[in-house]
Amino acid sequence: MSAQQAARAPAPTTELSRDLGLFDITMVGVAAMIGAGIFVLTGIAAGVAGPALIVAFALNGVVTLLTAMVYAELGSAIPEAGGGYLWVRQGLPGGNAFMAGWMSWFAHAVAGSLYALGFAAYLAETLHLIGIGTFGVPQAIFTKAIAVAIALVFIYINFRGASETGMAGNIVTMGKIAIIGVFVVSGIAVILGEPERLEEAFRDFAPKGLTGIFAAMGLTYIAYEGYEVIVQTGEEVRDPRRNVPKAVFLALLIVVPIYILVAFVCIGAVQTPDGSPTWQWLGEHQELGLLRAAEQFMPLGSILLLVGALFSTMSALNATTYSSTRVSFAMGRDRNLPDLFGAVHPRTRTPYLALALSGALIIGLVVFIPQIHDVAAAADIMFLLLFMQVNVAVITIRRKYGDKLAYGYLTPFFPYVPIVAIVLQLALALVLFKVSALAWFVILGWLGSGLLIYHFYASRRELEEEVTPVLVEERLRVDREGFSVLVPVANPNTVDNLLGVADAILETQPGQLVLLHVITVPDQLPVSVGRDFVNDVRPVMDDTARKAEALEMTPNALIRVGHRPADAIIDTVREHRCNFVVMGWRGQSSDPRTVVGSNIDRIVKDSNANVVVVRGDVELPARRILVPVQHPRHGHLMAGLAAPMAVAEGAYIELLHVVGEDLTPHERAARAAELKQAISSLDRPPADADADGRRKQRFRIRIATGEVVPTIVEHSREFDLLMMGASRESWIRRKVWGDKTFRIANSVDCPLMLVNLRTGRLQFNVSQFFQFFWDTEEEMPG
């Protein structure tokens, strides 16, 4: 019946090699930004915004600068593979981290597949231009096959390692910038030769007004997301505290003007064959708009532009393959995805399995990808949602850990910069619904699947990762779904007291008893040290289990080891889904930061169980129990708990409701009636009822007037046990009526039982969510 579990050995850490310098990561960012954004989306966006596309690109530059500052701050302080996903994990509670990673992984993968398809389309165009064609293969299949092939090539390049990736990326990016440079210079030369052309092209500047500009901003927002790719490299960068923030700003400095100039030249230098407005003509050519523009004014326009497009899509594919791999690698390492995602190849030191699986996702999307602007909008929305999360996370990270991190850059006007960024990004994401409703539906579908995976897989893995190790577990009956009462055993002298209370609770509802002893190891030592002390605590546990069996309870005994007892108790409540925790209390802590005591405070705050805290020697069954009731509706719960503790002959429970003196007799009577109604289902005839069926009164109701604290203290003198309830808030926030609870507790002499009743699951989760933002991180790393 006994099973001994060894404390989990710490997992070996995996590290990536630091090969990349400032130039490398700036080029990685530029490569990610100058890809489909310029070659594919310029034509489409021109059709949406008109000549005011240049305003859309500029305004996007301003909006993106705000988030870039946040990325510079976090990328310098927490330079790890994972980027935004990692920071959301640090800065936001619950499933936010998983969802951030899940969105980021998909966003980068879908962007990668877009670039692979873009490359294939441009290559097919090139082959067509030089008269080779598609070798008789249908165009659609030929394009898909090329896209898959180029995706495989870049998966292999990424497998070779960061330095090779950086080198390949740098060459491709430099070539691409050179071609775009020729494109811009040629266009400007044409404009300078015929200035009147410019006036004509820009005459109807914003044909769709501000709406068109905002829609184009949303559609092309993905173009500037390269800083997300830069920070993904953080773990492989030399001196990341300086280089990462610099690269973020340098990349934007290179890219934003390029976008504006390309849009300016596209619209200003083109003369449409049919005399229609240039922006309209570009919009009609969609992703090939830029190519058609280059054919008009650029020397060797088609060829150079095709080469540039091929370079661009290749480098963007390289960058997105890299970043989607790093996100999934980080998720695997954090146990949000299966462990295989976190594996690093021993020779190349690259996350080869994460790469293979990300590659499979990219290829899968290549094969099944829908229309291009829907995909772009979907990727935009995902990045916007991710950036919004990061903008929230930067605030909590600064608040919780700011003084413990080495920042290379600190966002100015904090926290207003991230707050403004959140508002603007939310607005852009909503505008995209107008551009592509389908994209929003795809996003919602992906998010929904992510939530399911988190609920059924990742959250459980997280819990497994975080729990304190169980050294010994003796089960007489295992039923984790049924009713259970947890009794942490710390002091052998108080065990009888606690077991008595647990027995009374189990009288109300049959279930099992969970006995827990926590071996507490100092912070300086690893928890594995606790194994040496198991034999010392076993006799206490065996003795407690025997006492429980004598009371006809079915104990399940656990010995855990951890740095803090509260963590072990909370883990046990979660694992066994305990309904009650019964704990001893020596009296109010002298620490002003605590309410009851540091351990009990944490257990009340972080475990959704009813917590019963016992002070003094409670003799059960008790004869006279006083239960002050704050409101008649609380009477049922408290009386239900007290009922099995007052089963002796002549025993009674008095429900005391203290009201103000201003209440009229009629109102007092109404309160009494309400209280009586609340406990009516509990007030059954006890076993010792008279033979004639006349009920002996077990519950008494008293409505007293006066000050709450002195009235209760005065009444308590006549009772064997004072049982007081408290709302969760009052335990945490002394300033609410919890003050009264502890003033009473400090004034009474009789044994005392404080009961904190648990809330609904939803309310608990919401409360935990907000508590996360409220709390500062004071704990020491174990």
């Binding site: 820009f202 991190l405 710390a490």
Partner: protein
């Protein structure tokens, strides 16, 4: 989602340096405000210009804004690094730390002798 994660990632400052470093930005705020004002004004003028000369002048200004704000930000990174080093040096001088403790020095040990030396385990306080 904890200090432990940051500790494992090796990005935490040594414990004795917690709270030592200033969390105020090293970005030159007046300059940044001026640059942002230029950037936003240039965007507005691009739109107001309606595709005329003003639009293109404003476009040029916007590119100037990008260069200016990049300069301000990169300068802030350099200032931040110098300030950080200065704060660290000052802190060590104040505390006469000859050999700084780094994250690499904080290693967990399985040495049971150390455990014994630390005494028996604690029991929960409550």
């Amino acid at each position: 989602m904890s200090l432990k994660d940051l500790h494992q990632a090796g990005v935490l400052l040594p414990r004795d340096e917690w709270g030592v470093h200033d969390l105020h930005t090293s970005v030159n705020k007046p300059m940044l405000l001026a640059a942002m004002a230029l950037g936003l004004t240039s965007v507005v003028l691009m739109y107001v210009g309606g595709g005329g000369t003003l639009t293109f002048i404003a476009g040029g200004l916007f590119i100037g804004f990008m260069a200016w704000i990049t300069h301000i930000s990169i300068k802030a990174v350099n200032v931040q690094a110098a300030q950080f080093a200065e704060e660290r040096e000052h802190f060590r001088e104040e505390h006469s730390i000859a050999q700084p403790v780094t994250e690499a020095d904080v290693v967990e040990t399985e040495d049971t002798n150390t455990a014994s030396a630390a005494g028996p385990p604690e029991t929960p306080a409550e």
